[in-house]
Symmetry: C2
Subunit: 286 residues, 2 copies
DNA sequence: CGATCGTTTGACGGTGCTCAATCACCGTGG
DNA sequence: CCACGGTGATTGAGCACCGTCAAACGATCG
């Protein structure tokens, strides 16, 4: 469905796992070294001889299948090794609210610790694999391996800081600004891992983006078109190129026009979005 | 520039703490027992004789003054003992985005751990006091007192789960629905601590609410009026009474009208918001 | 009692949601 | 090979809703 870009390595074939796939039992259960997990989390293994001997279960998730369901009992905390996930909640009427996207080294499912149930679902957007830290083992492991404790703490702090990203995109009034901020967030996250921050391969659909930005998916399409039309980005399906980084950044700063600010200075600033269009032919307002 | 709004209750006079206010030194530095903090976090002190002897610095924050500033170096993780805070980020142009509200037993500033700087500011909405766990001591304490480790983990998990609240309110298209969801969130949080969940005293201004909901503050006023007009709530300045809980809950479920829902059933359901006006009593269905 | 801020209400214009239709892409099967 | 659904992405048209500007109202405190 989504995957034909990097999906050449389909090993299990059509086995789609619509329901929770049981952990591969016994023989072929894949495992990873704790050392590798620590490196993934960005911490130096303090006792390498110990962490080398400890194995952490790995779980492969095929594109489109769910890592865990909203409401399901939590059994483990997951750390993404590769691939991308979307986290979402589904309203009674079926509307799916995408809360965020999680990639390499990000933690999934920690928010289930407090009451034992997942408040959101996690669905893989592409072939992915995650480390699964069993809830029964995690506390013991953290005590035995101090580096894991630090690494997890660090990752959780990052995730908490990133939680404001969704507020950042949704706070913008104009849909094009929302999209611009979203693209910059993706770009910044790519840059952290040394990836090119000017060429993005979005693993999620327009509808996922729309839900995440809080707009209709048609509006996302239009906004892509506008941003491209203004020369900020180039759009080729899910391949996005950032052509004018600074302009995009400046444009993304357009906020709710100084609402409530009775000081009033800069009441003309807000109109600059209209001016931004002036860079190229004037559109709208016609 | 922005904060002279709720600065009325200045007990220290003009000493406004524009910068990080140093912890009250020596003599009068208030301290609380670790045991009390553990109880606040909802965990049983495992070694009471130990936790009774350990003291945790307390910090009092007057209404309107900031606990920490966005961008400031983090020195401690705070746990709210009493009072309410708003967390916010300020855009270059001065627009203040309210990310959330933190009350009793909630953790503030943990998101600064990953890079040492606070990604958001925290401002007290009313007289408040917080436990301040110094960053240098926190790891040692967590190791010595297992209950603290568990309690913090639990609190962080809750906070992470609550991070989706802002997405929940902003996801709604109609402003009245956003406000309804917000009120229900507040009500639910009150209920956790045994407070009456049908009578709310909102400690934040309309402008704060507006920023948090992603709408203009005039729209918040109008939405309050509408919800009251429909008989869902009663409004008396910042005192809100929930008159018809079920109706309010049903109304809050109105989502983006089945966008993308190709099944298409219920395309008339969405209009029910307009119908809601005509009906004061129960209209629930679902 | 006046000043300041928070809150409410009104009017207008623009933006985006809704409802459609169309195109592009893909795997399937005649 | 092309017709055939199925899905995602794009584009268009109309109208309700909310942001903006403005002014009045209310509360609190000096």
């Amino acid at each position: 469905m989504f995957q034909e870009r990097s999906q050449d390595t389909n090993q299990t074939g059509p086995q789609q796992a619509w329901y929770v796939r049981p952990i591969p039992s016994a023989a072929e259960a894949p495992q990873g070294r704790l050392t590798d997990l620590l490196v993934l989390l960005g911490v130096e293994p303090d006792d390498r001889r110990l962490s080398d001997t400890i194995l952490v279960p790995l779980r492969r998730v095929s594109a489109g299948s769910t890592l865990f369901h909203e409401g399901a009992q939590a059994d483990a905390v997951h750390i993404v090794r590769c691939g991308t996930f979307k986290t979402l909640r589904i309203a009674e009427d079926g509307y799916e609210q995408v809360l965020g996207f999680a990639g390499r080294a990000e933690v999934l499912g920690f928010d289930a610790l407090c009451n034992g149930r997942h408040p959101a679902s996690a669905i893989a957007l592409e072939e992915a694999s995650v480390y699964a830290l069993s809830l029964r083992e995690i506390d013991g492991l953290r005590h035995r391996v101090g580096a894991l404790d630090i690494g997890l703490q660090h990752a959780l702090s990052s995730q908490l800081a990133r939680a404001s990203e969704i507020a950042e995109v949704m706070a913008a009034v104009a849909s094009e600004v929302r999209l611009a901020r979203f693209l910059l967030q993706r770009s910044a996250r790519m840059a952290v891992y040394g990836q090119s921050s000017r060429q993005l391969r979005l693993p999620m659909s327009r509808r996922d983006i729309a839900s995440h930005l809080g707009v209709a998916h048609e509006t996302v399409s239009r906004s892509f078109g506008e941003l491209a039309h203004w020369g900020f980005i180039s759009v080729d399906n899910r391949e996005i190129g950032i052509l004018d980084f600074e302009a995009l950044k400046a444009f993304s700063r357009m906020t709710r026009g100084m609402v409530d600010d009775r000081a009033g200075r800069g009441s003309d600033e807000k109109r600059s979005r209209a001016r931004a269009k002036g860079i190229s032919p004037n559109r709208v307002s016609a």
